[in-house]
Point group: C2
Chain length 319, copies 2
């Protein structure tokens, strides 16, 4: 990634159906790393491959022009830049609810990570009241919501994270039943057995690799694994081998990858659900805000060593 | 496994609700190997763990007593023995259709393997007309039906098997579009790219390990992997590592383990489907019949080196 400076004219070209946006907050997400990979296999899922010369895409908040009126706030997909000219199809939603809600939340709890947690648990994961839920990367953008949504569904919830402070956050701020620091567990299988003596109904997969391998040994019959990401594998030249997959057969497990984009239709229902809980103080959201576009690359890279504490946001321009 | 001889009285005990059966054909299936493993993880899926002193369970054809009348033919779960006393809940179905249909088919195409292929493709795998289907262990009890059912659904079908003769069977007898001998492919990924330049929609998983790893690179977006077995892994002390699981996320793949027992309710619909195609000669079934209970252990062991040619059956008593 490199910072490119240039001069632009803040004007939508004659006859264009595009929308001119001023980016206020940008999101830093692990999946962006994958957009930089060379395509593998026959197809990629999103068509959003990073190509030399283009810039990483992302969610945005901004002002705009045609269908919309000047000063409207929206969120959707844009590039990492101060101003963006985008087709209106890349705007996911107008922002109506601003009282008492930080605008940055639309890159997190009220945006892609929020819908990801919601769709992953309830649609892909078919979560039922009272089930036993494990989530990895549990203090991250999606994980902290997975845990809180599952608690609101009367589930038993355990999360793993990569530091003592993050584990404290899980237990003391997000209301998880238990949490553990995976870096301090010499045997992940033993750790999971300790927290799930009766096994796991739903594992919300964010990391892959060794964690997934240990989870497979501890899943319950007809367990579900909604797979949102495998962050531990993205930077490896040779990914780790997962050896316990036969448990998918033995235990009739359903493991399913999914992308937020296929669940955008749930957004109104989701927004009602989450805004009401936010207002009642039953859900909280922790953000880690870096300031200035020039600090974006370091913030993105930091995700892969767990430097972020909560959802990583990039403040581009003051509201 | 050992052969145990003894004398029994052919009588249902006073007050018992059990049914006395004479076993005619027994089925040899890879999953039976798993029943002999020590439990792994927190739970097993079936509760059918092999314990010292008990005998392997299996499908049967037999005569019987109370609810049923003497001479009725049935199929269901029994042990490997000449006569069985079983709760009637272990009888899956009375056998009504015998004209022109070998009784042994009720351990295969008209029994567990048949329903497994049917439910796996159409229920778990959500197969659609015209999709691209790959099946491993393709000449086996389940695989040969997967390919034929998919061809009846106007799909493009490729199978892998472990010998030239088996591959010939796929193409010349079962009507697969293509087939290959996985033992002669130095690069399974390249082989799959050759047969699926546009990728695989449904992979019917019977083997696991290296084949699964190569398949993951070649799946299409929103592909499905109904997982019926992972025979290549059952006898390994340390299973092979599967490294390409991140494709489940990238491509939004759904992989799901399943057992025949959860789809027994489909049996009447399935039977109508398969009997009509059998009568019209649009489906064929290849069996490999061993004779005599004493030859059962060798027949079972043979499955793991691919010694069987088609569905392995054990003839216990002449009809």
């Amino acid at each position: 990634m490199e910072i490119v400076e240039g001069t632009i004219t803040l004007k939508v070209p004659e006859g264009s159906k595009e929308v001119l946006l001023k980016n206020l907050y940008l999101s830093c997400d692990p999946f962006m790393r994958n957009l930089m990979n060379k395509p593998q296999g026959t197809e990629t899922s999103s068509g959003l491959n990073y190509t030399s010369g283009s810039v990483s895409r992302n969610e945005l908040l901004k002002f705009l022009i045609p269908d919309y009126k000047y000063g409207d706030l929206v969120w959707g997909l844009t590039k990492w830049e101060e101003y963006s000219l985008v087709p209106s199809s890349q705007i996911i939603s107008k922002i109506q609810h601003t009282d008492g809600v930080p605008l940055s939340y639309y890159t997190g709890i009220l945006g892609m990570p929020g819908v990801t947690a919601y769709a992953g648990l309830f649609e892909v994961g078919s979560l039922q009241k009272g089930e036993r839920v494990f989530v990895s990367a549990a203090s991250g953008a999606v994980g902290q919501l997975v845990g809180q949504f599952a608690k609101l569904t009367d589930c038993y919830v355990v999360g793993s994270a990569g530091s003592k402070d993050k584990v404290d956050l899980l237990k003391n701020k997000f209301g998880f039943d238990e949490g553990f620091n995976y870096k301090e567990e010499p045997d992940l299988n033993a750790a999971l057995k300790r927290y799930f003596p009766e096994g796991i109904d739903v594992y919300f997969e964010n990391v892959g690799g060794k964690t997934l391998d240990a989870v497979l040994l501890n899943m319950r019959v007809q367990g579900r694994i909604p797979a949102c990401g495998m962050i531990s594998q993205y930077n490896l030249t040779q990914p780790e081998g997962v050896t316990n997959l036969a448990n998918i057969v033995y235990k009739k497990i359903r493991m399913q990858g999914f992308h937020f984009f296929d669940y955008v239709n749930l957004y109104p229902k989701f927004l009602e659900f989450v805004l009401s809980h936010l207002k009642e103080g039953k859900i909280v959201y922790v953000e880690d805000i870096a300031e200035g576009l020039e600090n974006g690359p370091a913030a993105l890279v930091g995700l892969f060593s767990g430097r972020n504490f909560g959802k990583q946001v990039l403040l581009v321009a003051p509201e």
